[in-house]
Point group: C2
Chain length 539, copies 2
């Protein structure tokens, strides 16, 4: 067979070859829409590559991005990688100490930053020794202490609009991202051309996200998280229209973009879709009828949310599971043929799971003894995965690498899951969040989802607190809906309909809000610290 | 990233892991249906691999199959390849001389043959020096002169139902097929695990054949042609139900299987669907309403046939282009988003083309000077392709290899094509069939299709005959429909509505039947020989 390497220049070339006039729409900071085509995007990615040449960047060098979802960030997804460099996408919500660490650990030589995040970078610039050049993603450089600094448009100005992409080995690094771990330093994950190319082809598979040329894609998920769930690459490969919300990820802005640009597929964490549903209830004039499906990841959406989008908007939620380490798609909850005619209860039960392994992904669930657990939908164990788009090490972290991979080459995900007779994975908890009560495991996630299905509950999270007799017991933190009320007894009665009595929280805290992590998830580590001195029992 | 090689054992493992109970249904020679599951198929593929061990086959050795589409042939698609050997699929319709050549050229050590084709093999056995063992794909060995010979079921008997598939390099050969060239010796094409794995992933892409777990697939296209268009591999990968017609590929049998097994997708050359439509007209009791799409390849279906299936059966025909050398999918005529709302005439015009390059396939059309022709849907040139599932050489044929590849690594397909503004390729002729009239090219295929759209014409083919002034001119061979009549003038009037007068055939032959090649296409070489002494002109 021909030696055609699986490299990202092929993705870009296909868009230019077959879909040169398809649009990429960005909501700019001012709220205006910026529109251009794949042909223009590719021309500017070529200019960017030329500019990196002039800056003296060698093959293998890394550039950092501190940016929202916009067209310039998309150019940065391709220009550095296709010319043999690597793009390190930085999460600007990280604590300063972690932000400094990841830029230095990656050795980023150029840092590209949106105007909105210049202040964040300025606050850390003294510690970013590897950075030789700052580039502000704008027409002009704003007032800033960063130096040397140049505006992105000035950087591109005068560069040729085509670039003779080098022949790269598909195993070459194309990008980098750090896991936003809740404990310890972030761990670096290196992506390759081969991994992302296969992930992009898989993302168009009819049994996955089925991203195709007929789609208009709006990624709410940030492009600084795990390749924006692969959407910028996969959408370019198929020539789909892209709609990038920039910094405007509030429900009103996203709903407006979905309506105006006739979006067919969008992707975000569950909280976004929860807020969106509430917004749409109050704004019946918004039309999201072009939406064909909504991809949800990061954490599991409550079944009630899936029902709500089906019933009110005919917009099926497909949930998925993935990690920064897995590029990220691992499983997707599409409905199997056997379940198509099942009763609604059954269908929702399966659709509320993390789903089936995508083609190319090997999945197994092992108990503490390394034995595969029964596929009964109940037996819990650690989710372990293997695929050509899953990393096999952490950057410069032999310690973390040793802990995180099995001897036979699977990633130990740290997620606790079940698998059922159809192969649907259900992630019931993180290893560190599962509540170990008297030798048995209680899933905090399942309790949370069931609590959030109660009409009086806006948000809920469940953590483990120490117990004299049972080692750990569940404690719930609950935010009530405005105008609603519920007692501890009400909520335990509700939970008792589904769970055994020993699963029910021993204690409830009714709070104003639940703290969130930099990736928008409930911040259980902060909560655990807050309630560290709580000690329950023995009765 | 993890070093996960793209090997066929992953396809099989996924079917067993997630879809163990999905059915594979075969119509046996007796007409009974044989049913079993992927779990059983995989167990028998493992037994087959064990039997090959016992026969002393080494890594890299080849086995031949002379078989129709049935479950044992499917086991042969996996057992040899996954254990490091290679399956050479033989076309039993080849002339004896060619059949002998391909078995010897491939060096096949074991030959697996359906009972129906034992006679063909017997007639050639004296010349098959490389073959050490014959295996008849049956419960018992029939009366035969082949030796040594064993029944397939006896070969498998007692072998373990699991096999520790070796770690293979993805570049390893998994299969082999010969092009059924109309001139000269067949040329060998070697497939690799990597090529077939990528082709299988691509075959499920929503912008291609979109083969998924919800499908029930009936390949009429023989499994001895170009990997059965990749369907046996891709269907197994996604766990689709497979329906294999065996030797029963007549319209009545295929229609009955489609009806009884609720087939959603089938694939065949246009003549099959033409005959099927005629059969269905006479048998309105047949229900093919589960059919979601019909893939057509091998040669272009007339637009009239596409319309007929839309209008009468709501079963869209998707035509594609490919070659033995391309695994085979190269282009598919799915409808672009821009054309979805176009008027029916426009949509049919595009759907009647060979289609857009599938994801991963690079396509270009070059004139005799090596320049890319304009994308105007009219300018003709040679179709050249490049992909990781396209071969870069012919087996042991440096001469043919030199002729067939460009210096920059594209396959010269020998097909004459146009490309339009949307990137749809239209194959207008084979290089050797195009009619070169006074320095201009006339497409024999387009004339044929238009002739077959005439109500009086059942079949038509157009060949070049010598002309004193114009070098070559078109001559048409026409089979009239029963009860219909048409004169040369009628037909030229019909053609004249679409083509310039200099395209119209100078001569017509009304015949009883048009000879066919071993792959069911019109045999233009035989016709050209038949009319070799025809010399037209000057006026």
């Amino acid at each position: 067979m021909m030696d055609v390497q699986l490299t990202l220049d092929h993705l870009l070339a296909r868009a230019v070859d077959l879909f040169p006039d398809r649009e990429i729409v960005t909501k700019t900071p001012s709220g205006d829409l910026h529109r251009y085509t794949y042909a223009e995007m590719a021309a500017r990615a070529a200019q960017l590559a030329g500019a990196l040449d002039d800056l003296g960047l060698e093959t293998g060098d890394r550039v950092a991005t501190v940016a929202a979802n916009n067209y310039r960030h998309l150019e940065l997804y391709f220009g550095p990688a296709c010319s043999g460099r690597s793009m390190h996408m930085c999460n600007m919500r990280l604590p300063d100490e972690h932000f400094q660490f990841i830029v230095e650990d990656a050795g980023d030589r150029v840092l590209f930053v949106d105007p909105a995040f210049v202040e964040k970078v300025e606050a850390n610039a003294d510690e970013l020794d590897s950075v030789e050049q700052y580039v502000v993603l704008a027409d002009e450089v704003p007032e800033t202490s960063l130096e040397p600094v140049v505006a992105y448009e000035d950087l591109l100005e005068g560069q040729p609009t085509s670039y003779d992409w080098p022949d790269l080995d598909e195993e070459r690094e194309c990008g980098m991202c750090y896991t936003s771990g809740t404990t310890g330093k972030p761990k670096g994950v290196v992506y390759t051309h081969r991994g992302i190319s296969l992930h992009s082809l898989m993302s168009g598979h009819v049994d996955t996200n089925r991203l195709g040329q007929a789609d208009t894609v709006l990624p709410v998920v940030p492009m600084f998280h795990a390749n924006g769930w692969g959407l910028p690459y996969a959408a370019t490969f198929v020539g789909a229209k892209q709609v990038l919300p920039g910094v405007h990820t509030d429900p009103a802005s996203v709903a407006e973009l979905i309506d105006d640009e006739a979006v067919t597929v969008s992707a975000a964490v569950p909280t976004i879709w929860l807020e969106m549903a509430n917004y749409l209830d109050d704004h019946p004039e918004m039309d999201i009828s072009n939406v064909d499906r909504l991809t949800v990841g990061g954490s599991a959406p409550p079944e009630s949310l899936i029902r709500r989008y089906d019933e009110q908007y005919d917009a099926p939620i497909i949930q998925g599971w993935g990690m920064t380490e897995t590029s990220p798609l691992g499983t997707l909850s599409t409905l199997r043929e056997e379940l198509r005619e099942a009763d609604p209860e059954t269908r929702y039960r399966y659709r509320a799971k993390a789903g089936m392994p995508v083609p190319g992904m090997q999945v197994r669930i092992r108990d503490d003894d390394g034995e595969e657990v029964p596929r009964d939908g109940e037996s819990m164990g650690e989710l372990q995965v293997r695929a050509p788009w899953v990393v096999d090490e952490y950057h410069q972290r032999p310690d973390a690498t040793r802990e995180s991979f099995t001897e036979d080459g699977y990633l130990r995900t740290g997620d606790i899951a079940t698998m059922d007779e159809y192969g649907y994975v259900d992630v019931v908890d993180r290893t560190k969040d599962v509540i170990k009560s008297g030798g048995e495991w209680i899933s905090s996630v399942e309790l949370e989802n069931e609590l959030m299905a109660h009409e009086a509950v806006a948000e809920a999270t469940v953590i483990a607190v120490d117990h004299e007799k049972w080692q750990e017991r569940p404690m719930a933190c609950v935010v009530l809906r405005e105008g609603h009320d519920a007692t501890t007894e009400d909520l335990n009665d509700h939970l008792g309909e589904r769970f055994p009595s020993w699963w029910l929280p021993d204690s409830y805290e009714f709070v104003e809000a639940i703290p969130r992590t930099s990736t928008g998830k409930f911040d259980k580590m902060t909560l655990r610290r807050q309630y560290d001195d709580v000690r329950l029992g023995p009765e």
